[in-house]
């Protein structure tokens, strides 16, 4: 059994989805996350068992609305989607062929997607334009993650486009930047997966456009509007992250032989591993907590608690950490500030600043 599988132990692996893969790229320096994801560990279940359930959750209203919007975009033979693709990609009128990959049944979807994409890439006569419910694969540290983009569009001239349908609104040409950024990161995962599929099939991977078609409701109506979003930057970050993931061996080597994050699920699937023991095991890996983790990682509360116990400056955000460059803990920084601690080599400048800052604060608050 390979070491990563041993880390997961008897707990069934948790497949990655695009959102999880995109989040991997959000905190590249975190070895804990890299290991857990690499081993396919269910971080959500782990966090619950540790008593630090993740603070996320999606409202049923948001889910319903998202589904309804996607249905609207795809209704009537993707009539709305075709209108938008004709607008943003200048798709010729003749290109309307629709393939629902899901027609073949779940177990064949990936194979069928490959066959259809291969046929389109060979530019055979009856290649399609819209591939609905495709299933792509992406290798993550030795495991294949299956990914479901909303739609893949193929265009005369040989270009493939990922279509991402999101239900956040674009109002007077503007959308929530955080939502757009998240959509772009997620779409980049699909672009990468499709490019790798093309490469495996012997085609030019760059035939997958780095512009993804983002479809959102416009203003306050349900009417969909499409925008091209360039995801080159997100792709670059993602590829770098995934290449680091393949270097997990190095991270694993530093770990004790017997270390495992197994939840030891009982017959009912509930974890039987003592939580304290699991927490100790996790603490053998180095996390890199940042407040951004609070919106991207299931383990965030566990790691934040750990950072609190260590009094780490990371707790206060990247800005504070950058400002304190090279001073890791609050205790250390405060010691330098009140002069009770001598600066280590390279800390002279920050120590001088901290001392002045401390003097100024005392003076003003006296």
């Amino acid at each position: 059994m390979n070491r990563l599988d041993a880390l997961r132990g008897t707990t069934p692996p948790k497949p990655h989805d695009a959102r999880a893969i995109a989040a991997l790229a959000a905190n590249p320096g975190c070895a804990r996350r890299a290991l857990l994801d690499g081993a396919g560990i269910d971080k959500d279940a782990t966090a619950r068992h540790l008593g630090f359930p993740a603070p996320f959750g999606q409202s049923p209203f948001a889910i319903t609305r998202g589904n309804a919007f996607e249905a609207l975009v795809k209704a009537d033979g993707c009539a709305e989607l075709l209108r938008m693709l004709r607008e943003v990609l200048e798709l010729p009128v003749a290109e309307v062929a629709y393939h629902d990959v899901e027609n073949v049944g779940a177990h064949l979807r990936h194979t069928h997607t490959r066959a259809l994409i291969d046929r389109a890439a060979r530019d055979e006569h009856d290649s399609g334009t819209i591939y609905d419910h495709p299933l792509l694969g992406l290798e993550i540290a030795g495991h294949t993650a299956y990914l479901e983009p909303d739609v893949v569009a193929f265009q005369l001239g040989g270009r493939f486009h990922i279509v991402e349908i999101k239900s956040f609104a674009v109002i007077d040409g503007q959308a929530d930047p955080a939502a757009v950024a998240a959509a772009a990161r997620q779409a980049a995962v699909y672009v990468l997966a499709l490019r790798r599929m093309l490469r495996e099939l012997g085609h030019d991977p760059l035939r997958v456009a780095h512009d993804v078609v983002l479809v959102c409701p416009e203003n306050f109506a349900n009417r969909p509007v499409a925008t091209l979003v360039d995801v080159r930057r997100q792709l670059a970050v993602l590829e770098r992250q995934l290449s680091r993931m393949t270097g997990l061996d190095r991270l694993v080597e530093g770990l004790p032989e017997e270390l495992t994050f197994d939840l030891l699920p009982g017959e009912d699937g509930l974890p039987t591993r003592p939580a304290a023991e699991l927490a100790d095991a996790l603490r053998r890996t180095t996390a890199r907590y940042a407040p951004d983790c609070l919106s991207t990682c299931d383990l965030c509360f566990f790691c934040r608690d750990e950072a609190r116990q260590e009094g780490a400056c990371d707790l206060l955000g990247r800005q504070v950490r950058d400002e304190l460059g090279g001073v890791a803990s609050a205790e250390e920084a405060l010691g330098l500030a009140d002069g009770s601690r001598a600066p280590a080599e390279g800390q002279e400048e920050i120590a001088r600043l901290l001392r002045t800052a401390e003097r100024l604060r005392r003076e003003c608050l006296a």
């Binding site: 959750g57 209203f61 203003n219 306050f220 400056c313 800005q319 405060l334 800052a357």
Partner: protein
């Protein structure tokens, strides 16, 4: 964020309680603020779910859309909101003063203006969207709405836009204001949680603050668990009273926090420049009221090129003025500039009040002051300086060496042969000088809107709301 604030955050973390980063209050706080906590339907751009609002802490008014997917109920809700907010806004229009202006006609300015307090930035963004989704509606024709709804939309749009104006207090997010005055031991991201931030300031960090069962989110987003377990079944059952009571339960804890935050801010003495900025707010509010009274159309969907450029320039000037004023008003803010060497403070060790430069008719009084300081001064000789102790005074740095800084006073000491009494600091006095000054370059020369160059789209057409605007769906 400055190193000074970072240090305060570290201290807060160490001591388990937030640390002050201001010694005075930098925002206006109305006698009768309108506290407004809006909630949005999850998954929708701007569909209102509820609001709790009022000017008295013991008398909140709850407005609920008991069937959030029903468009007519949304407009009825907006009309209810208008019935609360418009009279409040209108109550400030009666008392005015006439303000004389250089090179321009005098105008009427209200003596006091409304102030809307919302919990957080997301709340302000939601108010702006509510304004956007209601201001183009019409009281006549297809899909008529109550006439107060488009009017409310224009005011909400106005308040939402004004909230982005640095230093304005017409509508502010309480978490932002608290965060400007206290440093907590958590990240800025977590400070957006009103319950968590208030806990840091009053009693110390509390895990309860992040438990939606104890402290429901301060909106506009609701807790997904609440949506799933309480709201969805109640909507499914069509139980209007149950929905109303459940939402009241979600909003009331935040209501208490909002007033607690008001109390915290009120305890701080008001900064010296707050009144001046509030005066600008009153002027801006008066202009908006005038605009509406004259029957001008609702705000356009987007600014034209010239309007956008001048708005940007205005914001930049306001931002610069706000930063300087806060430093002059508050030694703890000034300390940030002392840390970076743009300001210094210390004791006057020597003066030469009758020092002068030039001969004969061009002879000018230029008193010299030597200040002993421990601050790292990084100012070149000749730099123009100002001082919070004597705001009308102008000075220049002559020399800075070995903790002794020589300053030459150039303005604000009178026209006589000897300086006006009190205009030159005495030996032993503590003073502060800074290169930050409050005189700003005038506004950039932008063309009139009618002369917008073609590169910027040419003169914008007068914005006329279309039928489409009025009929737009609202989800």
């Amino acid at each position: 964020m400055s190193l000074l604030t970072s240090l305060a955050r570290l201290r807060a973390l160490e001591e388990g309680i937030a640390q002050p980063i201001a010694t005075v209050r930098h925002c206006h706080l109305a006698e009768r603020p309108m506290v407004l906590i809006p909630l949005r339907m999850s998954g929708e751009a701007a569909a209102p779910l509820a609001a709790l609002l009022g000017t008295r802490r013991d008398d909140p008014r709850l407005l609920v859309v008991t069937q959030p997917r029903n468009r007519d109920l949304r407009f009825a809700w907006a009309a209810d909101l208008a019935a609360e907010l418009l009279p409040y806004i209108g109550s400030f229009l009666a008392g005015t003063e006439t303000v004389e202006r250089k090179n321009s006609d005098p105008y009427e300015r209200v003596l006091d203006a409304p102030q809307i307090l919302v919990p957080n930035q997301a709340g302000i963004a939601f108010i702006r969207l509510l304004g956007r989704s209601t201001r183009f509606r019409r009281a006549h024709g297809p899909y008529p709405v109550p006439p107060t709804v488009p009017l409310l939309g224009r005011w909400l749009t106005y308040f939402g836009e004004r909230a982005t104006h640095p230093g304005s207090s017409l509508m502010t997010a309480v978490t932002e204001e608290l965060g400007r005055h206290w440093a907590s031991g958590q990240s800025g991201l977590e400070d957006a949680n009103l319950a968590a931030l208030t806990a840091w300031i009053t009693t110390g960090p509390s895990d309860d603050a992040e438990d939606p069962l104890v402290w429901p989110p301060a909106g506009p987003a609701t807790d997904p668990g609440f949506d799933a377990e309480v709201l969805a079944p109640a909507i499914e059952a069509g139980a209007a009273e149950r929905i109303t009571e459940a939402l009241r339960g979600q909003l009331e804890p935040t209501w208490r926090l909002m007033w607690q935050a008001v109390d915290l801010l009120r305890e701080l003495p008001e900064g010296a420049s707050v009144e001046q900025r509030w005066e600008q707010d009153r002027g801006s509010f008066s202009a908006m009221a005038q605009h509406i009274a004259e029957g001008a159309p609702p705000q356009a969907r987007r600014d034209g090129a010239v309007a956008a450029a001048s708005r940007l320039a205005r914001m930049e000037r306001a931002q610069a003025a706000y930063e300087v004023q806060r430093a002059y008003d508050d030694p703890l803010v000034m300390a940030e500039y002392r840390l970076t060497g743009e300001a210094f403070a210390g004791e006057v060790v020597e003066t030469e009040p009758e020092h002068s430069e030039g001969e004969g008719r061009s002879r000018k009084l230029r008193p010299l002051v030597v200040v002993k300081t421990d601050d790292p001064v990084r100012l070149a000789p000749g730099t123009a300086l100002g001082t919070p102790q004597r705001r009308a005074q102008g000075a220049q740095l002559v020399e800075a060496r070995d903790g002794l800084v020589t300053v030459k006073i150039t303005k604000g000491m009178g026209r006589g042969k000897t300086p006006a009494p009190g205009s030159v600091p005495e030996v032993g006095e503590r003073v502060c000088y800074t290169s930050l000054t409050d005189d700003f370059q005038g506004s950039p020369a932008l063309p009139e809107a009618e002369a917008t160059p073609w590169t910027h789209g040419g003169p914008p057409r007068e914005y006329a709301p279309s039928d489409e605007d009025a009929l737009e769906e609202w989800s």
